[in-house]
Amino acid sequence: MLTTTASSPVAEVSAERVAGGDRRLSLGRLPALALASASGLALVSVADALSRSGRPHAELLFWLGLLVIFVPIVDRLASTAPRRGERVALLLLLGVALYLVKVLRDPFAFTTADEPLHQYNVLQILHSHALFGSNPILHVTPLYPGLESVTAALSSASGVSTFAAGLVVIGVARVILTLTLFLLYETVTGSGRLAGLATALYAANPHYLFFSASFSYESLALPLALLAAFAVVRARPPSGAALRGWGIVAVAAILAVVVTHHITSYGLVALLLAVCLVPQSWWHARPWRPWVFAATAVAATGAWLLFVASRTVGYLSPVITNAIAETFQTAAGESATRGLFSSGTGQGQVAPAWEHLVGIGSALIIVAALPLGLLVLWRLYRDQPLVVVLGCASVAYVGTLPLRLVPAAWETAARASEFLFVGVALVVALAAFEALDRLWMWAPSLSHVAAWAAAGVLLVGGVISTSTSADRLAQPYRVSTAGADVDPPGVAVARWAREVLGPGRPMAAYDADARLLMVYGREYAFTASNFDIKSALETPMLHRWQLDFLRHDGIRYVVVDALRASANTSAGYFFPRHPIGPHDRFPAAAVTKFERAGAQRIYDNGNIVVDDLKGVSDAAVVP
């Protein structure tokens, strides 16, 4: 049972309990805030248009648009005025508006690193009418076909493209995420106001704007995992109907998470076990422990790993062991630290000073808010096991912040933020109410300004910490010319390969080109993320062992791109925005070596050529 003090900010909102029933669907401030969000979205769209056409001032409009979407809604959610229906509607508005920011960045195709790989899996399902195909770049993805099977079902049922179907499925996942976060927070805290603010603050999680909105298995698995957690919480006795009904939903959601994403399923197992193991107060005669659901999650995850996706161990273990090893090396001063405020692809861009300040400021706000929030949490919710676990998650989040300085661990740490921020958002919301309500009694107008500023810094800082300027804004993908709309050269090569060579040919190419070959050419493309392929593409001479390797994998065609951007899965899909200089190209010797060894150039579009290795003789390569 919730215990509050009379002066607690949560006390006043606890009057608006879950059990309370307003029966009138009032719009409240929804129309005005919808207008604000639409205006923000329009600003972002203009910013993207400026970026796509190479004009200045795009960044300013982008940030302004984000703040116009986010801050007014957070301000409204923080007040006691909205009814439950308005809170839910505002949160859905916020979630969908921020999702559309990502859609506007990539309006023509999936262009982040993993998206084309999942799209290829969907195409495989549509082509073969079966699951568990193969993926030449990310081998484990076909073993977790949850996202792809839903997308393929929608694509085949409605007849829309896999891109359109993917956008709809991830949009629905965003709605599920928003609803489930609100209902979960509301159920465990008993406060709609707290739940609304915490759900909105979750949008300040560094990966919320782009990564969580990308067409990737985690984007569906995390909402389903939270749905499972919410259903488990609602399935508690004494109500038999609730136990049965929500229990069925919980078990189904757990199974769906297991078949959708490996890490999320492990995270769900950890969450459920933690809820079972949290010590509960002695006055609970029969403390509630969701052992049945935890056991179901453990058994399903273990069985899937053992009998279907055992390859996952080999996929994940190097990532984890490298992260751990390099963390120790960095701590011991044996490895260099990673520069902050750059994307993982490291395009050498240096973020401006204000971005450093805001990024660090957002982390400091979280670190400063946690002690106060945890204090309130302990005072009010220590008998709620899930809230205690979420409090621990918020502390773990702070523990992951230093890992962003470690090159091999930063991505793991950043990806963990999606999970741990579920706790951070709740604890920061608790701290915000505690602090702002005290400030309100002292200086009401100042409390509003402080809340707006803090919310803005949290959101902007989160986006800054995981993306560069080029990653945030749309880039020229489909461009308008006098005669027709033109797609990038990499897409043209892929379409040519499908048309002339036919689909399914094993090929070698740099990372971005390989992904385009898979989606638009339906080719079986090996890429430079494989060490041997990378070597075969980059060395100035073709060696015998490289040729043997290519032959071993049945690779007859090599797509050779002279531009270094083709090795970059952030920048490699687009038309270059600046004139190409010598430093933007690979050495000529590396580009022409296959032809020097006897390969035939069967396609040439300037920067990209396709070489046929059939004519390469062993005598022509370096022994």
Binding site: L104, A253, V479, T481, W496, N605
Partner: protein
């Protein structure tokens, strides 16, 4: 009477969507709506009616409708795959209709007619939308217009930045072992003039002097017969700029060496 009408809403909707998926052409607006409803909403909504305790409110039902639909489709796909049933529209449509109908029927059976009626009353009675004022309607209408404008601008191709360059592609297309053509296709960002010459075993056999290629257009130069199997066909594409002639693209093909697209099998 009213009760049975309500109980039939989901099954009838599902059956209509299923029929639309099987009958209407791919990508038509009605089929898109039917596909979204049948894959992402109706099965979960039916499951929610079947299992959720009475008294749950709209957000909970909406959550279960969307979440459980994704769950059922994901798990259903694995079940179908395991028993060897192909995942195609003619399978998805009836399976999802059946799931929805079974969920609705379970909901009806579980509650019983009278109890269900009371449950529906308790959930919906007194729920009404507050009157929408003209200013609110104006704001909502403006919001929708702004969002539509933002999406329209976002999905409209624009002129490329100044530094961007397109690409004109050149290749030789073999048609069997003894016929071929050289093809130039413009993916350039502006119209340009080209000259194309074709060689067989090093001897020039065809040429296309000074032709224009606009973006998206292609120019095809057939290689004159007779051609022997194994002949080496080459093509050179020159770009003509203000009287200057610059070699732009070059390709080679040994006839019979490249498999035809129709022979591809996939991995």
């Amino acid at each position: 009477m009213r009760l049975w009408f309500r109980e039939l809403v989901l099954p009838v909707l599902a059956a209509s969507c299923g029929a639309a998926i099987l009958v209407l052409s791919a990508g038509s607006p009605a089929r898109v709506i039917a596909g979204v409803a049948l894959v992402l909403i109706l099965p979960g909504a039916a499951l929610g009616r079947a299992v959720l305790p009475r008294g749950e409110r709209i957000p909970e039902h909406l959550l279960v409708a969307l979440g459980a639909s994704a769950v059922l489709v994901a798990l259903g796909a694995i079940a179908l795959d395991v028993v060897g049933i192909p995942l195609e529209p003619t399978v998805w449509a009836p399976v999802l209709v059946i799931l929805t109908v079974v969920g609705s029927a379970l909901g009806t059976l579980r509650a019983g007619a009278a109890a269900r009626d009371r449950g529906l009353r308790s959930k919906w009675t007194g729920l009404r939308l507050a009157p929408v004022r003209p200013t609110e309607a104006l704001m909502i209408g403006t919001s929708l217009a702004l969002i539509a404008g933002a999406l329209l601008l976002g999905t409209t191709p624009l002129r490329a930045p100044g530094g961007s360059a397109g690409s004109t592609a050149l290749w030789i297309e073999a048609n069997g072992a003894r016929r071929a053509a050289a093809i130039a296709r413009s993916g350039d960002l502006q119209t340009a003039r080209y000259e194309l010459s074709v060689t067989v075993d090093g001897r020039t056999v065809a040429a296309a002097p000074s032709f224009r290629l606009a973006p998206g257009e292609q120019h095809r130069v057939p290689v004159p017969p007779p051609l022997r199997a194994g002949a080496r066909v080459g093509a050179l594409l020159y770009r003509l700029d203000h009287g200057a002639r610059r070699l732009s693209r070059r390709v080679d093909l040994t006839l019979g060496s490249v498999p035809l697209a129709s022979a591809a099998t996939g991995p």
